[in-house]
């Protein structure tokens, strides 16, 4: 039944999309009826996904599509898990969106409703597609609908160019995926996934399929060096759309990669995993370092998504290597870590993107340098964002920590690999994971501290207002998700273990009980977030009580200490650039920096620093120049005279006639 339920939800979403056009300009109906309805559908979808992880697979043929080429659909534990992610995250985002839509921002609300729900439906369809044709159709629908969400504010030139970059790289990736399916069908001509599972590829063709899958799905997920679209496109979209793109759409790419690598492809070679691991680690480090120097809050979060995708791919790489060596329970551990992290990232990243949306609405300001002190004006948003901040910073007892803990445990088992070089290199490479995780803490302190804490850097921030009830509800749902995923890891892992069993034929040798999370062996490692939280909370309460009881609870307010320099303004707090300065200095070779320093005589001194991505200059601009050169060559064909064009057609016809004969 789960598959039918999923289809029903998809039909509901499409109907909502159509209703959105019907009531294109009626904000009340769109925001207060259609979006909450979509959220209810999302909850049903999440339940169906959960049911699918427990009960076996089911498939279905939809009599749609081209003649003789119907859509094959299938639901199993893997797609069930990702449907669970999609449903549970988008429920919160949809509720938030119903409070977020405003008249006069970008497209009409009905159009946004259309794109948004088509986007949701296409993501759900991607997750249940069971043949290459259906997969590609839904994949492209997903790309296009999200493109329209990105350019929803299309009056601005930079948003249009961000959208163009996004759609360009999405299509390059789609071509790679298409070719990958072409290799996977192995000459049988049957493009259904069921047929692909039966094909045994030679190592050579397997390697080509692997490379194409990594490039294609990696382009969508934003791995280095295919990440350039992500920090442009995600901030450009309205906040609920950014949240969905970062939190869910990137995960469909992860899903596709897992589907190809662990399900469709029979055999695996160990060094594929090493490549994925290396790419993942590079992506994580690159993403977090750039995230630390951003001064636009949504760009900062977009770069941080790149970092998290890096962690997810690193886990996938480990899983591939372990599986290639038939160490299946360890592969299950690595896979658990990456799936858990996908789920976590879905929750905390959407929470933070939505919080920036509320801040944006309250202040009309995205630049970190002009925010500050919002915890006093927007306490709800600030405290809920704190949950997301701590979760993404990877500190216990919230959810980000659990997946990082699992990933590190998986890394710690690598000395057991039967390969001398790997079992020395990979443990050392663990340092990259730790470094990136610690830098993520740095980034999130910067984000939260500059936006919500301190004093307002601009006068107008005093008028900022807290989020409305719908927005609060959406944020609350996601924050609760972060807390629950953090505190009950054992139950979550039970769900993920079903995916392990499906993909690896073996689950995690889980010796955990309800209190202690202990993968593999309990004496090897254990972690109990509940006990952790209980002890800290008890000590906090006991201390609070004892201090109040034995001393006093008096408090006096006074001005902050000015260090003997009374002329301090709010602008003297660290700006975003200032807070990023240590990272700029320590990781200088990563950046392409331009500094403008004022001379000592300047009457109005200005200090400016711009930080750019080397890869943009080393990789993309040369490709762009080559393309431009090629197109000027092609341009010579364009003469403007009708007779010349007729000549082209004529020549083409002659050549074709010769060829076909």
């Amino acid at each position: 039944m789960p598959l039918q339920t999923v289809l029903a939800v998809i039909v509901l979403w499409l109907a909502i999309a159509l209703l959105g056009i019907a009531f294109a300009r009626n904000l009340r109906i769109v925001a207060k009826i259609l979006f909450p309805l979509g959220a209810a559908g999302a909850l049903v979808l999440a339940a169906a996904g959960f049911a699918a992880t427990l009960g076996g697979t089911a498939s279905l043929v939809l009599p749609l599509g081209l003649p003789d080429l119907p859509f094959h659909l299938r639901i199993d534990a893997l797609s069930g898990f990702f449907l669970l992610l999609l449903g549970s995250v988008s429920a919160g985002v949809s509720v938030f969106a119903s409070g977020y839509l405003r008249p006069g921002e970008g497209n009409a609300p009905g159009l946004q409703c259309l794109y948004y729900h088509v986007f949701l439906a296409s993501m759900a369809l991607v997750l249940v597609a069971n043949d290459a044709y259906a997969f590609m159709v839904f994949w492209e629908t997903m790309a296009l609908s999200s493109y329209f969400l990105v350019v929803s504010d299309h009056a601005k030139a930079e948003i249009r160019s961000a959208g163009f970059l996004y759609i360009l790289i999405a299509h390059v990736g789609a071509v790679a995926i298409l070719l990958c399916f072409g290799v996977l069908q192995g000459g049988t001509g049957d493009y259904s996934f069921d047929a692909m599972r039966k094909v045994a590829l030679t190592p050579f063709w397997g390697t080509i399929a692997f490379a194409l899958a990594l490039a294609g799905f990696g382009a969508k997920a934003g791995i280095v060096p295919l990440h350039v679209w992500l920090p442009e496109a995600h901030p450009a979209a309205p906040s609920p759309a950014s949240a969905l793109m970062s939190a869910v759409m990137l995960k469909t790419a992860v899903y596709g990669f897992l589907r190809v690598m662990f399900d469709l492809m029979g055999t695996q070679i160990w060094w594929w995993g090493v490549i994925v691991l290396a790419v993942g680690l590079a992506t994580a480090l690159y993403g977090v370092i750039f995230s630390a120097v951003q001064s636009d809050m949504k760009r900062l979060l977009a770069w941080s998504s790149i970092e998290n995708i890096g962690f997810i791919f690193a886990g996938a790489g480990l899983a591939i290597t372990f599986r290639a060596y038939e160490m299946r329970s360890l592969a299950a551990l690595a896979l658990t870590a990456m799936l858990y992290h996908s789920l976590n990232h879905g929750f905390f990243k959407s929470l933070l993107f939505l919080a920036t949306g509320s801040v944006l609405h309250a202040t009309r300001e995205r630049s970190l340098g002009k925010l500050g002190g919002l915890i006093h004006r927007m306490p709800w948003v600030a405290w809920l964002a704190l949950v997301g901040t701590l979760a993404i910073a990877g500190v216990p007892p919230l959810n980000g920590f659990v997946s990082e803990w699992l990933l590190l445990q998986a890394f710690l088992f690598t000395p057991g690999l039967p390969q001398n070089y790997l079992n020395m290199f990979i443990p050392v490479a663990t340092a990259v994971v730790v470094l990136a995780a610690a830098l993520a803490g740095y980034v999130m302190v910067k984000f939260y501290g500059v936006v919500f804490l301190g004093r307002p850097r601009e006068e107008k921030l005093v008028d900022a207002h807290d989020a409305g009830p719908w927005e609060k509800a959406g944020l609350l749902w996601l924050a609760a998700g972060c807390v629950i995923l953090g505190l009950l890891p054992v139950s979550v892992i039970d769900v993920i273990d079903q995916v392990n069993r499906q993909l690896l034929g073996q689950g995690l040798g889980n010796s955990s009980n309800w209190l202690f999370l202990a993968p593999i062996k309990p004496e090897r490692s254990s972690y109990s977030p509940l006990l952790f939280l209980a002890v800290v909370a008890l000590v906090v309460l006991a201390t609070w009580y004892l201090v109040r009881h034995f001393y006093h609870g008096r408090v006096r307010r006074g001005p902050a200490w000015d260090c003997g320099f009374p002329f301090q303004t709010a602008r003297m707090q660290d700006s975003a650039e200032g807070f990023g300065q240590p990272v700029r200095q320590v990781f200088e070779p990563f950046f392409r920096m331009r500094r403008e320093l004022p001379s000592p005589e300047d009457r109005a001194p200005r200090y400016r620093v711009t930080v750019e991505d080397h890869l943009w200059h080393w990789l993309y601009l040369p490709i762009g120049r080559v393309t431009e050169f090629a197109s000027t060559l092609v341009n010579k064909l364009q003469q403007g005279r009708i007779s010349v064009y007729l000549l082209y057609s004529f020549l083409t016809l002659i050549v074709l006639l010769f060829l076909v004969r």
């Binding site: 002190g373 704190l386 910073a393 990877g394 500190v395 216990p396 803990w405 445990q409 710690l412 000395p415 079992n423 050392v428 663990t430 340092a431 730790v434 995780a437 610690a438 803490g441 740095y442 302190v445 910067k446 939260y448 501290g449 500059v450 804490l453 301190g454 004093r455 004496e523 490692s525 254990s526 109990s528 952790f532 002890v535 800290v536 008890l538 000590v539 906090v540 201390t543 609070w544 201090v547 034995f550 006093h552 008096r554 408090v555 006096r556 307010r557 006074g558 001005p559 902050a560 200490w561 000015d562 260090c563 301090q568 003297m572 707090q573 660290d574 200032g578 240590p582 990272v583 320590v586």
Partner: protein
């Protein structure tokens, strides 16, 4: 594991740690004064300072948010948990399983994040400066610390601190070059993490060189007392980790009271020696510029990596 006796032993250990941590700080200050030819403050000074601070009325900046007020309690709670996790007297206590070595690093990270956020809350230039530097030290120190813990866990095949200590304590007595390197790396990391010379100076109030103190500038009264107490606890916990990893002899195993009674004086002697060593290091080295810290911690990281590699080559 979760028996009444076990929990009682755990609570005893926790109370001892909380009560004795300021004594350890006092001992370090005393040794440092001796080495620098000053007349030493009495051993109990930290307690008097705490008592005085608790009695005083805290002054909050006008801009302080509730986050600023709850942070001292949270940090104190984190450090108490850290002191409970680290095997000090007995390696088989109930809370030990709640968090392994990685979770311990996460716990310190939690405290650090809260402290930095609280420092940014008032919105003065110094608070943010301290927060930024503290987070920088954090991301430089954590990889090195994790490498040290990984080396220890590779030797013992576990990341749970009590298993590591049990395993290391049972090993036959011989020279482990990897542990020697890891020990030096750990010492360097602990100096940085506990805001000691050469990375930070616990006694400075010169604004431009402060890291830890810059974050505490706005705290007063009971809040400051809790922060100071938490700092003592952190130093105590780090010393105990060092002791547990590198001189793991004489720690009780099995949770009987006699063993704990015996291990108490052993721990006291080891802590006294450790405090003396810390004071010695602080007296003979000079405070570094802040941007030398990456090199300092990079060296620690290198040592930890070498420790791991040498373990692979020579000891496996």
């Amino acid at each position: 594991m979760l028996t009444i006796a076990g929990i009682a032993a755990q609570l005893t250990e926790l109370m001892l740690a909380v009560l004795l941590a300021p004594l350890f700080t006092g001992w370090v200050n005393m040794c440092r004064a001796w080495m620098q030819n000053k007349s030493a403050p009495p051993l109990l000074t930290p307690y008097r300072v705490l008592l005085k601070l608790f009695n005083k009325e805290p002054v909050l900046a006008q801009n302080a948010s509730p986050l600023f007020r709850i942070t001292p309690y949270i940090i104190f709670g984190c450090m108490c948990l850290a002191a409970a996790i680290v095997p000090t007297l007995d390696i088989n206590l109930p809370f030990n399983a709640a968090a392994d070595a990685i979770a311990l690093v996460g716990l310190f990270a939690l405290a650090r994040v809260f402290m930095s956020l609280a420092a940014m809350d008032i919105g003065t230039a110094f608070g943010t400066l301290g927060a930024r530097r503290e987070m920088m030290i954090g991301f430089l120190a954590e990889p090195a610390l994790l490498m040290v813990l990984f080396t220890a866990s590779l030797i013992s095949g576990s990341t749970s601190l009590s298993s590591i200590v049990g395993q290391l304590g049972r090993m036959e007595l011989m020279i482990y070059p990897s542990l020697a390197f890891a020990g030096v790396a750990f010492t360097m990391v602990s100096l940085a993490e506990n805001a000691r010379i050469p990375v930070d100076n616990p006694a400075t109030h010169l604004e431009l060189t402060m890291i830890h103190e810059a974050m505490l500038l706005e705290y007063s009264g009971r809040h400051l007392a809790l922060m100071e107490w938490a700092a003592s606890l952190k130093l105590f916990a780090y010393s105990c980790i060092g002791i547990a990893l590198f001189v793991p002899f004489g720690i009780a195993d099995g949770g009987n009271w006699l063993g704990i009674l015996i291990s108490l004086p052993v721990l006291a002697v080891k802590l006294a020696a450790g405090g003396f060593l810390l004071a010695l290091i602080e007296s003979v080295s000079a405070k570094m510029r802040i941007f030398r810290a990456p090199e300092f911690l990079g060296t620690a990281f290198l040592l930890a990596v070498l420790a791991m590699l040498i373990h692979f080559l020579l000891e496996s």
